[in-house]
């Protein structure tokens, strides 16, 4: 036995174990701090910093100081700063690897504080990258309507006129046609051929008819001449028919070319002209970008925090939550954990109650979040939150309530209601357009938001009631009469209703905004817009007509030359017909003389 056991080894073991325990005791705080920073950064996709962590044993608890979570979209800004987090732990459950926090308090929660150093990290998590590139990030494409009358000369210098292109191509085609027809005219029987026929006829008429044979021979000659003339005449007539078709096509194209300048004027008016469409959607233009950005951010944060609401576990051999082993991948791990049915089921992580004090510019808002756990299916209770604040600076009251129900992850349903009363807005730039800068100088806003998320289907409805409104629209550069009218109207508004509806899925949602502003502006400036548009169209028509006058004149001239070919063909038909009639008469006269 003595040869097998080394008894002093036990003493060495106890010494090593004690040394490790002491080491752990001294370094556990740093270990916790680094774990929180590393895991947090992985989840958020930007740096998470913690000043200090302090683990206490009697009573079991943890205090975290100076937690900073960087906004992944703005690395120089913190999405949230928490001065101090105090939480009490259940030590017995820790032995079961379960972090059960009975109560947690979050003190000095602030949003949007500026960071001293950038919180960007080299590689953002894949889930986060997907959120950013999704269609939901599309910015509204609407722009402020153009109120300034455009310079017609500048437009014509910049734009390619379809009418001019059409006329130029037609001019070339007419010249080609003219050349072709001239060539064909040369090949057709003309004066020389007709003279030839006349000489043949005269010769036949003067020849002696003293015998039946000579008479019959003469008749045959006459018949042959008549047939030749008839054939030539047919050729000329056929050519004439072809010419008429070509002429018709050319004249049609000339008609089109004459109308083309008007088409150009209409097209350019549509492109550069005033449109009341932008005015009809003024609220979408003014509030859309800010609302869209806010919605996008909210969705991105929801996606980031989703792992705290439901664990991405995969049940083996059946439905999840039915007592079958569940495979769970811990954040950032290479391996997986398999969870089995527990005799007394408890979530792996649970914060039963979190009291929070949010430090806003308006003042402090207090609230609580209950049952924060990724294992709602085990706990059987949804996460709820409620925050409220009264008589704050520039804010009469605010109340936020909600429920995040992921008890059955396949039928998750989240809902939030926000009610804001008497929120004072000051100096909010709504438009930085040079021609029409708009500033919401002052307004008292009441907001009512009802948002729900069933699975991935989002449905949010926000009603905003703006009163004691003062909108200023300082005169911009080169202000047109329409812009002045809009500016005047906006300055006169003192009450405003705004409705925002978000529907669709988290990946692809539709954002609709409407307000009283749209109707008021549309009614007021539609007439002015129409007058200005008609004026622009008239100016464009005149300028385009001037520009195409020369080429169009050339086309008309060329067409007249082509028309001469028509006259020549008519003349040849006429001459040919006369010759044919005369030859036919002579032929029948010759035969009559025989009898």
């Amino acid at each position: 036995m003595k040869k097998l056991i080394r008894w002093h080894g036990l003493t060495v073991f106890l010494t090593i174990a004690t040394f490790l325990a002491i080491l752990w005791f001294f370094f556990v705080d740093g270990l916790i701090e680094r774990t929180i920073e590393k895991t947090g950064s992985r989840i958020v996709g930007a740096r998470v910093d913690l000043d200090a962590a302090d683990l206490s044993f009697f009573p079991a608890g943890l205090t975290l100081a100076g937690l900073q979570v960087t906004d992944p979209d703005k690395p120089m800004t913190n999405a949230v700063d928490i001065e101090r987090i105090v939480l009490s732990l259940d030590p017995l459950n820790l032995l079961h690897r379960k972090v059960i926090i009975e109560e947690m308090s979050l003190e000095g929660v602030r949003f949007g504080a500026v960071r001293k150093a950038s919180g960007a990290i080299a590689r953002r998590p894949a889930a986060d990258r997907n959120v950013m590139k999704g269609p939901a990030h599309k910015k509204p494409e609407l722009k402020l309507p153009v109120f300034q009358a455009p310079d017609v000369r500048e437009i014509l210098e910049k734009e390619e006129l379809q009418s001019l292109k059409l006329i130029e191509s037609l001019s070339i085609d007419i010249l080609t046609e003219r050349k072709n027809w001239r060539k064909r005219l040369e090949d057709l029987p003309g004066e020389a051929k007709f003279d030839q026929y006349n000489r043949r006829l005269e010769k036949l008429g003067s020849s002696k008819k003293d015998s039946l044979a000579t008479i019959l021979g003469g008749a045959g000659e006459f018949k042959s001449v008549v047939e030749d003339i008839s054939r030539d005449l047919d050729t000329i007539r056929k050519t004439r028919k072809e010419f008429d078709d070509a002429w018709l096509s050319l004249t049609k194209r000339v008609d089109q070319a004459r109308k083309a300048p008007l088409e150009d004027a209409r097209r350019l008016k549509a492109k550069y002209g005033f449109s009341a469409r932008g005015v009809e959607k003024m609220s979408q233009i003014l509030f859309g970008p800010k609302v869209s950005e806010t919605v996008h951010k909210a969705i991105a944060w929801y996606e980031r925090l989703r792992p705290f609401l439901e664990r991405a576990g995969e049940a083996r051999g059946g439905e999840k939550g039915k007592g079958r082993p569940e495979v769970v991948k811990p954040i950032g791990a290479r391996s997986v954990d398999v969870r089995f049915k527990e005799h007394t089921p408890l979530p792996d992580f649970l914060i039963s109650l979190a009291n929070a004090s949010l430090r806003l510019r308006a003042g402090d808002i207090k609230g609580k979040i209950e049952n924060i756990t990724p294992d709602q299916d085990i706990l059987g209770i949804p996460t709820t939150f409620a925050f409220s604040g009264d008589n704050l600076k520039g804010l009469k009251s605010v109340e936020l309530k909600g429920k995040l129900n992921h008890i059955d992850p396949s039928k998750s349903k989240d809902a939030a209601n926000l009610q804001v009363r008497g929120y004072r807005v000051e100096g909010l730039a709504l438009s930085e357009n040079e021609e029409l800068p708009i500033v919401l100088e002052r307004a008292l806003v009441d907001l009512k938001l009802r948002a729900s998320l069933s699975g991935d289907a989002i449905n949010a409805n926000l009603l905003g009631d703006f009163h004691s409104v003062r909108i200023s629209s300082p005169p911009g550069k080169n202000v047109s009469s329409i812009a002045s009218s809009v500016s005047r109207l906006l300055s006169g508004i003192n009450k405003l209703g705004l409705k925002i509806v978000v529907s669709g899925t988290l990946e692809d949602y539709d954002l609709r905004l409407s307000s009283d502003l749209d109707r008021v502006l549309k009614n007021a400036i539609s007439k002015q817009v129409k007058e200005a548009t008609d004026r622009l169209e008239g100016e464009l028509e005149t300028a385009i007509a001037e520009k195409v006058r020369g080429p169009l004149g050339e086309v008309n001239m060329s067409l007249r030359v082509v028309d001469d070919i028509s006259a020549e063909l008519s003349r040849r038909i006429q001459e040919g017909t006369a010759l044919f009639d005369s030859a036919k008469g002579n032929a029948s006269g010759g035969l009559k003389s025989l009898f």
């Binding site: 056991i5 008894w7 080894g9 073991f13 032995l95 079961h96 690897r97 495979v327 290479r334 391996s335």
Partner: protein
């Protein structure tokens, strides 16, 4: 490092029992292949210190198997996941899952389970194989090595001096 290797060689060529070397190597295999901060490794450490095994071999084996574990992690994950999700074993795992001791052991982690089972299965065959190998080495190879020119040259080397200078603690 040189001293550790020298100590192993000395132990290999000494009169110490083969089991002291092979047991050290096999225990280091469990500690090295499984995650170091696991509960069972406390027991391995206790055994390593309590049993009269060669500690130099244990330390060298620990370094070797820790490196091996990094490469073998995918295999351990596969073995662990297969065992943990095998229906016939669910009752056993469920019972263990409800025990605090086993939860601290993290047996339900795929790599912990895979590497532990792998090293435990390999323990007995490796132990017997090494025992036999050491015995044969001492009987046939050692005498022949001593007579070779290389060995004669080696006896003049720095490593040999280190080998000569080490004490026999742990034999």
């Amino acid at each position: 490092m040189l001293t550790v290797i020298a100590k192993i060689l000395k132990a290999l060529n000494s009169e110490s029992e083969p089991w002291q070397l092979s047991m050290a190597f096999c225990l280091s295999m469990i500690a090295g292949l499984t995650p170091l901060c696991s509960l069972h490794n406390l027991l391995i450490l206790l055994l390593a210190l309590l049993l009269r095994i060669n500690l130099s071999t244990f330390l060298l084996g620990l370094a070797f198997f820790t490196g091996m574990a990094y490469v073998l992690d995918p295999l351990f994950h596969w073995i662990g996941l297969t065992l943990l999700t095998a229906s016939p074993l669910t009752a056993l795992w469920t019972a263990l899952y409800n025990s605090a001791l086993w939860r601290i052991e993290r047996f339900n982690n795929s790599i912990v389970m895979g590497s532990l089972v792998f090293s435990l299965l390999l323990f007995a065959p490796l132990y017997l194989l090494l025992n036999e190998a050491i015995r044969r080495y001492r009987e046939h190879v050692l005498e022949w090595i001593h007579k070779t020119r290389i060995m004669k040259a080696f006896t003049t080397s720095k490593l040999y001096h280190a080998y000569q200078s080490v004490s026999g603690w742990g034999e």
